[in-house]
Symmetry: C2
Subunit: 206 residues, 2 copies
């Protein structure tokens, strides 16, 4: 049995959807960021980084979305969520997920989490102003060079898809018009129609 | 035959060392950041992100260090650079590398690359001032919660090791005293003694 710690509207949505798509045997626990539950002593025992997601397994805790997504794919091979028998194709999946994690999510984080990297209010405001530009540049690259369509990797749905979808849910709030990104918009619509996505969104909203 | 595009003193060192440790059949091409070669039209054809490293394979180009490291390990299983037959242990390797990429490298990047996320000189200076604190916090977590010793994952040397070593080469410049991190310092010393590391550092300096 797996247990996912998450908070709504965070990148944990990607792993949550992947668990549902995999047909995994899992439970979830919602953290309340409003009362800073991610930094409670209890949660810091699980994940000393004080972030979500965390995935508790029989062997121990896993953190970091790209690692969790690959783990879910590898331990549920029947769900075919990654090209497990092709090291190059698997590396392409990992490359997309690493870019989403280390560049795109980081660009987004400068809107509300500026205090991670600076001290002054003026810097936070400056960072926040630049987010539409940085997220726009990231998604232009995704639109024109990464997203093969209909899914990120082409015909095969993979763990890249819930991760891209999750970050795309932030676009409007980040000041990027999805309508100007037709492939991203089509992908977003396809994702929203998947039963696993509907189920997880309903669960997180409950 | 693999071809690695790199620049000295960048995170490409991790993949370079991994290629040497794997006994891979590879060549390298050095980019000169001083003349902005990473944004030349020729290089942007290879990697539209305008960053290093890039790994050219017979199947196409791979980017993003965690993906490249996993690929090198998976395609050179005899080198035993990752626990390839254990999805949980492999996920732990991926989790460390994802943290190094998306949190630690990003913290470091705020010293010299502030213009990625802000516009004002005052913000760049503010970001730069915070780097010793953020890098110090990252490495405290690595020292106390991640680095098992003697290698990152314990007795087995993996692709986490060249990546941690690479980022640790930046510590002094980032205002973090390695002497106060005994496990990190021991790891750094062990890494510097490895023939593959000596060979790669000599090659990059040539």
């Amino acid at each position: 049995m797996l247990k996912l710690y998450y908070a709504p509207a965070t990148c944990a949505l990607a792993s949550h959807i992947a668990l549902a798509e995999a047909g995994a045997d899992y439970t979830t626990e919602k953290l309340d960021f409003k009362i800073n539950q991610q930094n409670s002593p209890e949660y810091l025992e699980i994940n000393p980084k004080g972030r979500v997601p965390s995935l508790v397994t029989d062997r121990g805790v896993l953190t970091e979305t790209p690692a969790m997504l690959a783990y879910i794919a590898q331990t549920h091979p029947e769900a075919k969520l990654a090209p497990l028998d092709d090291a190059f194709a698997f590396a392409q999946v990992q490359s997309i997920n690493s870019y989403l994690c280390s560049t795109v999510h980081v660009a987004h984080a400068h809107k509300m989490r500026g205090k991670r990297w600076a001290t002054e209010e003026t810097s936070f405001a400056d960072m926040k102003r630049k987010v539409p530009e940085t997220m726009g540049a990231c998604f232009a690259l995704i639109e024109h060079r990464m997203l093969k369509g209909p899914w990120v990797m082409g015909e095969q749905y993979t763990v890249c898809d819930p991760y891209l979808y999750t970050i795309a849910t932030w676009l409007e709030g980040d000041g990027v018009e999805m309508a100007k990104l037709p492939k991203v918009a089509d992908h977003f619509k396809r994702m929203a129609e998947r039963p696993a996505v509907k189920k997880v969104l309903a669960e997180q909203a409950a």
